[in-house]
Symmetry: D2
Subunit: 341 residues, 4 copies
């Protein structure tokens, strides 16, 4: 850390900071400029230290040098991590498609969509059984019945399945049925839930929050990793900004920024980012062109009957087109597609 | 709802929308302009309807007319709700101060701060036993031991106590010790947790998320209210924007906007909004001047020893000054202060 | 427009709104729901009308139905506009590269860069002679001397040239030397300057402001078009958000949103969006994959000697690589590259 | 400046940075930690240096220590600057009200409003003659005729006048008629215009841009100050965020942050920040409570006839109430009001 003292800080204030740094077990490196004194605190490893030093009188700012995440970092693990989801490998080069409906609505419906997306190249099936809804009066999902359907249909179509877990209490049941546990954007800083899925042996699909910086996002991944679960997949799904044409602003630059900082696979979710099906294709292509390891999209064969998020669901033939174009862009950049099992 | 059709929508598309509106049990009101057809859907009460209509081909946008929150709205309850926290009344006119340390660190420490803030006019004591921390490597709070200390010290100093609950599993224990349960910014859309505290009989102090719109925030309050718990206090604590001088951007206009839309009391938390103690006073005054029902602040007599958020903790004499100036501004606007018990 | 009255609006208030709508020369369409009255105002063409109606007591909100831009809209001109820049065609399918240094520094330097970027496939040369700098103490550009060099080198290497114009007073001189006039992000709502370049016969390269919505951006284009100049090229170059890893957040979704709304060519500028050269390539690819008509990038053979924006300048061999990969992605999506003259 | 090298930077890279720092005339201070090397560059005064060092291979980040603004800083001028506007003193303690219509519409109209706001305590009259409008099809103001009316009515009612200047070419004429020149939010980084008003001898009312950081804002003030004009008044008027209930998000914390960093007077404009008259009062009070030197508001006696921004105009009796309450809050905080001449 580097402690920048206020212009005009007294020598008593400077001495006090130096002593405090030493009391934290760190080495001190003093540098006096014409206007300001700057004090290096060397050897720092504790996230609290910054806050402790900032709280001292005469300190203008404290600049951290080390990144606060460790297990998630490229420094910790140079190569690309590959996450195994029921036999499907995510990360490490090839591009994967995860597709399915927003919510699981019925067996017949889910079988229809599963068949369509697998035929078009999806390697993993998505579908929500527990739905986080802004309104308490909205459809909240089929719960365990939905999980059973998802498992059954996944097995039938040889598609490993991913589904969202909303609460610590649901972790055991979701873990029983799913091949990968999804943490939604609204729970990205639900630290109890992160720790809990970190204790399972199932991969975790961790979506970025819509107001989470890349740095905070990697700290959330760190919560899972620090519990011993190394199987984490990240996913950019749009952030909140002043621009309101689409539901969120798709932060495509998060893809290369994440890839530079972490070894974990990075996906994109253009369905939630845009909220409108006609924008899903260009954003999916943008994500893959920027280096994403895969794309998660929502597909529904009758969106106006969908129990949630109908406007953003791709029709099956739109997904066929997306799959083709994603494969073309991937090939242009020397990358293959992950084949379904 | 108002459905705006795309320019050039076909009459088949228009007819389909009309039929779909009718099938949802709503009345239809058709209006054809020179360029666009607009269709009113009258009688709407279900949040899903907007999404269903938006998913239909030829629909450009759907504009909701009714607000999505009900129990939280001024239409539902005209007057100001007053929330009783262990005998202290929040809302309805007078201005209240809630103060205490970020985290409960020890009995002696908590007694010192409690005595100081009560003497200066605080009516409720705050203190964290379960701490949500961005880093898994940071201090996570004293847990139940902290709750016991908080209860004990609150009783000694006749200060009702509020403390954060992070998970559904912690609700029973926090409910046992605290007079009011706090939901932190990161859990504002943790819908399970909202529902769970909605089932308790303790008041809930619900902080706004740093990327939650006023509308989404009121939907989160609605989750609690819809479970039967009418005792909800709202609190603006800063949102994320491009401006980085302070930790967050204090959205003071949320105070009058919330007061216009809801009957629930609205507090401000200038400590978390600013992140620096020298800005807590002006933001507290701004909040009260804008109509807030009270202020929550963090106080610590030795911030550089604080186990979290030392830089934003007021020193005890700064809190004395804040209390005086808040009272002066309140009086200037014809409002009194809530006295400690 | 649709006027939504407040719940509980009086019939006098409703009558007054109806009369006011009629006085504006619009037809009225009344719709009374159980809770709210909604009044359609049909035939609206003036941007002021919304504001007039919003100002009336009892009005809750006014929802515009028509888009405020006309000449820029797809409704006005269905096909893709193609803009001719000194013989190079921008828009209409093929992908073009515009490259060059941030600032023109010297003849020899500019010749070096121009030769390199042309050899690698750039069709237009960029370079700043008048530089908008945040600090009054920074290098402000070579002025007319720079323009002369740009013209001379552009002619030598058969590269049409684009350069920024900062002020109305500079329009004549920039018009004399350049093939396309650039309006920078900070001037996107400098309406005088927009009108002035609208009166020239040179194409205009109009960058999006970093806090400009897509809608406001198209209104800025409308200023130019309304003066009779139909040759406008748009360019997304990053917006301001809470995320600070890169200089701006590259809003790649603006590309398809703009393409849906307007016939004008849409470029991307990944250099300014990212601020760091290692992120220019993935963002350029993302932009093209999302449908951009071209890419503008900064190139410098010795960035640490650059007089501005060195960190974001591509080294010449990085531009060669970018050109190859952009061409590959374009080809994968069935698009060709614009060849240099 | 502090240069943080990448983890794993080679000694050749480190040596190169050291040499480059020396070549810029700065002293070097080297500090090697376990993982990273940090190099202090001491004596820095040029804004370009940061960018030059960031452009070098192996450099992870460059942290500036000195603030980039000088003449605007508290370090340069410890006390509060007082700006004299036609005899009315702004800044230095007392709170001033600037009021008037958005646009000057006619003599009779302006006389009515001027009489009303003066009687209620406004010390300066505002009114737009040149209007920056998002749409080229909107009313653009009365131009010089408006300026003449403003001067005439200001003189009649003994109210110094402030009006916006949009372009360099308008500076001489606006300077002739107005006592203070206003630079609007959209021109806050129109550096030519800033320099030009910096060459006049009239005070400048510089509004913050809606996407301008406090730091960038002070750099814009620096442009004016660096031309020799020390009479600059700042004004917070709302920034763009994800929250859309009001037109902008009023960044009240900018008031104390600015006051800490600069000696210039700081006003607030709650009319533009909110866009709705019912929110102007609470935001005005918040601004003053947070330490603002004054409030600028729009007043119109018949908002639904207003040629622009009717929804945000206060009715005259609302302004009377605002004036009373602002005075009460100011008095509560030991501050007086600036009296009209």
């Amino acid at each position: 850390m580097i402690v920048v003292m206020e212009q005009g800080a007294s020598s008593a204030q400077i001495d006090h900071v130096i002593e405090r740094i030493k009391s934290l077990g760190l080495a001190v490196h003093l540098s006096k400029g014409e206007y300001r004194t700057v004090i290096g605190a060397i050897g720092d490893k504790r996230p609290e230290h910054q806050s402790i030093l900032e709280a001292i009188d005469g300190v203008e700012q404290v600049v951290p040098i080390m990144k606060p995440f460790k297990l998630a970092s490229r420094e910790f693990h140079r190569g690309d991590s590959v996450v195994d989801v029921g036999g499907v490998k995510l990360g490490g080069g090839p591009v994967a498609l995860i597709a399915g409906p927003c919510a699981i609505e019925s067996r017949q419906f889910l079988r229809t969509v599963a068949g369509q997306v697998r035929a078009a190249g999806a390697a993993v099936l998505r579908g929500g059984a527990f739905k986080p809804r802004t309104s308490p009066y909205s459809f909240q999902g089929l719960g365990e019945d939905g999980l059973k359907l998802l498992r059954e249909v996944g097995d039938e179509f040889k598609l490993p399945v991913v589904t969202e877990v909303l609460a610590v209490s649901e972790v055991p049941i979701v873990e029983r049925y799913a091949d990968m546990l999804q943490i939604g954007a609204r729970n990205v800083q639900n630290f109890h839930l992160l720790s809990e899925v970190g204790k399972t042996r199932k991969p975790v699909f961790l979506k970025r929050g819509f107001a989470t910086t890349v740095r905070e996002y990697l700290m959330s991944a760190e919560y899972i990793l620090s519990q011993g679960n190394q199987q984490v997949v990240l996913c950019e799904r749009g952030i909140k900004t002043f621009e309101t044409e689409l539901r969120f602003t798709f932060d495509v630059s998060a893809v290369p920024v994440l890839k530079q900082n972490t070894h974990l696979p990075v996906f994109v979710d253009p369905s939630h980012a845009s909220g409108h099906r006609q924008f899903v294709l260009p954003l999916a292509l943008a994500g893959v062109a920027a280096g994403a390891d895969g794309v998660m999209v929502e597909v529904h064969h009758c969106p106006e009957e969908a129990m949630c998020d109908g406007p953003q669901a791709l029709l099956p033939d739109m997904f066929v087109e997306l799959s083709k174009q994603v494969a073309a862009v991937a090939a242009a950049l020397g990358r293959s597609m992950v084949k379904p099992l």
